[in-house]
Symmetry: C2
DNA sequence: GGCCCGGATTGGTCTATGCCAATGTGCAAT
DNA sequence: ATTGCACATTGGCATAGACCAATCCGGGCC
């Protein structure tokens, strides 16, 4: 199989940083190009993949550094802060905006509303050791008077829903897919444009089966792992699935 | 916010292909560079992001084409073939290799074995309308005499485990994260090196709590969405999570 | 000491260009 | 009609070089 040169350079750099401690600075791109007998363009392509992989971080004007390897796990049936706290992380949250918008087509569908209905929107930046790791936009239907104040008093969205509005969640569904950081998101998360992100949509229902939350979250793809665990009942046992061939 | 030129070019091309049918061919990179008054390098960078997004596909010597948008959903508690069949897709599977290997450190940990213990390895290429969409490597502990023949007779791994070896799954855990296609995987999946993939690890246990499967799957990140749905019991209710602030 | 400014350093973007590799086409030979 | 080969086309890889923007550092100034 033909392996392009930038990929060999990538492995070379990987070997180079294997022995370096976290935070160590790499040679400059110009130096690496000379040492590895290639062009700066090729070095940059190799480094870019390592940045996407989460192995390196770079800042204009400063340099390229060995990134702290840290993989945080998220469980669908728990809350963001609960998840991270359980793993010994120190989660934080920065409120960006609370406002009321009119539901568009998609939003109305997920929350079982008619388009144009008012929906509360809560935009937050989730942080970890002061470092942004996720952008979260929650949509909540129905009247929630004083939401901003109640949220400010409690911090946690779920706690606010339960205590201030007596809304208890009964079921949640998460979908996980990948996307790329656009300039705005990259700016908020402090990462490069084009880095892969985990795009998570969460819908939550109350005991009556009414949707009470539809949230869109963007996580750094190189920092998170999503975990789902299930017990199987016989009726949905995998072994009962049809044969693989059509 | 400063937006680089290749990002503007990306939007321009996005506008261009919005009106084109699936499979339509784009102008060549050299033509686009001229029309948009930029260099071919910049055009390529823009196109590359659209390829990563799943909007475009390109083949050396042929051209760049509008990709078929198709997002398939995967549910953790069902099998691969069951998932896709339920959505009206026509899943297939191509056996690449069945062999027995010695468990390394990681594998032994997941299957609760001692390193060096023999483990069956089943490597398959999952397909969809003859198109490869996932690379799946299953690891199965314990003696499974005649595994290759039993698999060949049934097609489905889970069905084989249940019918031929009386192994019934009781619980599964999936983890989902992102990674990049290395040259080997890209070759097997017929995609470009460096495309983001969904890396899914599945562990399955039998009723006795013994691990019976540890599988590593690589899905095209632009084609799949992972779905997890849960009912909440009070003891693990999100509202009981700690406050957001540390 | 503290502040400000200018220059050096480093990554970020863009251009222009050359060659390679895969593909498709059309003509010629059989 | 089929095969085979040369050639044009198109994307893939790599280079060299220029300029921009963020950062850092040190000297000079208050």
């Amino acid at each position: 199989m033909k392996v392009p040169k930038y990929y060999l350079v990538k492995r070379e750099i990987q070997r180079l940083i294997a022995d370096l401690p976290v935070g160590a600075v790499l040679p400059t791109e110009r130096e690496l190009a000379e040492q590895l007998e290639t062009s700066r363009t090729t070095v940059r392509k190799a480094i870019s993949e390592l940045v996407v992989n989460g192995r390196l971080e770079r800042t204009q004007g400063r340099g390229t550094f060995v990134a702290r390897p840290k993989l945080m796990q998220l469980r669908p049936l728990t809350s963001f802060s609960q998840d991270l706290a359980a793993e010994g992380w120190r989660p934080g949250s920065k409120m960006l905006e609370i406002d009321v918008i009119e539901a568009d087509e998609e939003l109305a569908r997920h929350l079982q509303l008619t388009p144009g209905a008012p929906v509360h929107r809560v935009t937050r930046l989730r942080t970890q050791e002061e470092e942004p790791i996720a952008l979260e936009i929650a949509h909540l239907p129905g009247p929630l008077p004083g939401l901003a104040e109640e949220m400010a008093a409690r911090g946690s969205l779920y706690r606010t829903l339960a205590e201030a509005y007596l809304i208890d969640l009964d079921a949640v569904e998460d979908t996980v897919e990948t996307t790329l950081a656009d300039p705005e998101t990259a700016n908020l998360l402090g990462i490069e444009v084009g880095l892969p992100l985990l795009l998570v949509h969460r819908t939550a229902w109350d005991a009556g089966g009414r949707p009470v939350e539809w949230t869109r979250s963007l996580f750094r793809g190189d920092r998170f792992r999503f975990v789902a665990r299930h017990r199987l009942r016989d009726t949905e046992h995998p072994a009962s699935a049809g044969a693989t061939r059509p």
